[in-house]
Assembly symmetry: C4
Homo-oligomer: 212 residues x 4
């Protein structure tokens, strides 16, 4: 039954990617949702009782946007994957590991009203997540060839190279001004907020070429 | 290999929608379930120890129904989507953001036995979720054309326009009578409880026309 | 484009069922897992510190098995569904509502070492879940006809009719003997532990008839 | 309509496996993520406040890797499954049960800074999960025949047989040296960290044979 085993294998590769996506989606969905558990229900019922929640909710909003960006870009990147190898799988779990620590640093930063160390730790986790994302991206390109879709799509990857530098700057600045550090975290989010049009455009170009 | 890239692209668009649905389902499923974690296990084991749980469980029931309605209608609306663009994706995350705050306000309202401010905050989150839903709906129609299935299905969208007005009324009434405010929250839930027949009917009509 | 709309509709019905299954699976998976959060990490590190966990873990095991049974039978039942109507959807959410309260009563029963009231409440939630399951089953049969697969598969549904009676008995017996009540809860679990062979057998018979 | 019922049945078997995979993925994704809830946000905001988190985070990292391994290998194993029978379903739930206790023992071990009993309990849960995995593997082979893909893939299953022995050794050594016990837990993780190449190789061989 060689033919069957061939299809079996096609199925194998396809399923692996789908399960990887589904698992990653699941983990990111849980991370983004359990973060809300860090917002403790206040004991009182007056506006005064809500005031300490302002920094908690602000940091929740920022982390929600960051996780949304990661989910969105992860989605685009995964789309270019044809083969899931062991190193892609573990590079992906490595990324999920750093993302899973976001609720913890979000809660710590929010409850301490953006004091230097919690704020720097927040930047550190973002930095590690960015590095993990870069590693995953590199593993996918290595496995699919320099000429692959992802490789062409990211091009010089200016965003990807700029983000860690900005995070490092922000971490250092936490002890000087929490406003500048926070501003940089928001800035990086804004840079990425635009979904990764590069991959979309390449796809569109190929489709248009097709139509002609 | 232009043909392959064409199918690739078809696959691309299809998968994006499925992942968007799966991610939204995941987040709503988690929200609806972690809400139960706000119901703290009482220390004693008598009927008296259960009494303070009555408002907590009542607000849980109401929020469970609201999230069920959102899941159901989100499902119907997503069904009409053919292309997932960046703005649909972020409008969807924006909706999930407000839904994710429901467990927090549910717990706050329940533990404070429906005092004015927590009850108004509950209405505020429902209002923001309703607006986010409306924005998402508008983005989908803009992307799929005024003549699209969704556009025909929602028609004048009386429910969608009435709900925010009712929420605003309820928020103001929280300081006058918690019973009236609560009654309005229940009323809006009842209005929506009927699944969005409009889309179902349009589908049915098209199918019947098909059979002829 | 009548043909397209026809397929569209086929897709519509199929997707609804898959999303219903996926959502139910998600909720049950979350319920079964967050239940473990009720097992509080003990402060000490001796065997003595583990002793109070014995009732907590026992009740966790029992609830884990119950949720496993519900997931399994829900799976079998959903398999027979061809059309998801509004009433099936809400009957399903109604079932999930009662299942979502299982972690709460499990924690309460475990922490109070099986005293009468928490134990009766546990039985009450099981009773309501059993009734919700029965309602869902009835809605599916009503929608698919008396002669449908599910209808033939469940036959006289002895298990389904016996369980609520046994739960009611156990609830009453909680104030007489916690051992008998607990024994009944275990007994009902054992009765259901066998996966619903009835549906499997009917499927098998049809397949065999096919082969001939 | 015998033909329809035949396809129906094919669909039946296929869906069951997919739902089993999806459910398992969901549970593992939730377990791996809620574990982070055991890392309590510290009250202070100095480096000193972070120090007690070092053992908590170390044990989190180890458990994250273990759950990643289980997810990965479960994935490979499930891939070889063609028929989901009742015993496979329950053997799978049995595995998920032990995995669900990992967050609890991880938190207990981390908060007690690796004292003997919590560390031995951690090993005990790993041991039970390993046994449950072995039972599941055996059930699959029994159902698919000695000559099945999984059977050939695991071969003598040296890793699978060695792990429980190593866990048992580590459990005993917890009272002698926490470093050696911890070292063994890390060692077993490293042994498994390599994804189960055996199944991948068998698939690859079959594919190559195919190409010739």
């Amino acid at each position: 039954m060689p033919e069957e085993s061939f299809f079996q294998d096609q199925y194998f590769i396809k399923m692996r990617k789908e399960r990887l996506e589904a698992f990653s989606d699941g983990v990111i969905a849980i991370i983004i949702t359990i973060m809300v558990l860090e917002i403790k229900v206040p004991l009182g019922d007056t506006f005064k009782d809500l005031r300490p929640l302002v920094p908690v909710i602000s940091s929740y909003v920022l982390s929600f946007i960051y996780l949304g960006i990661y989910w969105n870009n992860h989605h685009h990147m995964m789309h270019t994957v044809k083969r899931v190898t062991g190193d892609i799988l573990w590079a992906n779990l490595h990324l999920l590991f750093w993302l899973s620590l976001i609720p913890f640093v979000t809660g710590w930063m929010g409850e301490n009203h953006f004091t230097p160390l919690p704020m720097a730790m927040y930047g550190f986790i973002l930095l590690m997540a960015a590095i993990a994302y870069y590693v995953l991206q590199t593993r996918i390109i290595t496995n699919h060839g320099r000429d692959s879709l992802l490789s062409r799509a990211i091009g010089k990857d200016i965003k990807g190279k700029m983000s860690p530098v900005l995070y490092l700057m922000a971490i250092g600045l936490c002890w000087i001004s929490q406003w500048i550090a926070g501003g940089i975290y928001i800035l990086v989010a804004l840079i990425w907020l635009v979904p990764d049009k590069r991959i979309e455009i390449i796809f569109k170009n190929e489709e248009e070429r097709e139509v002609k």
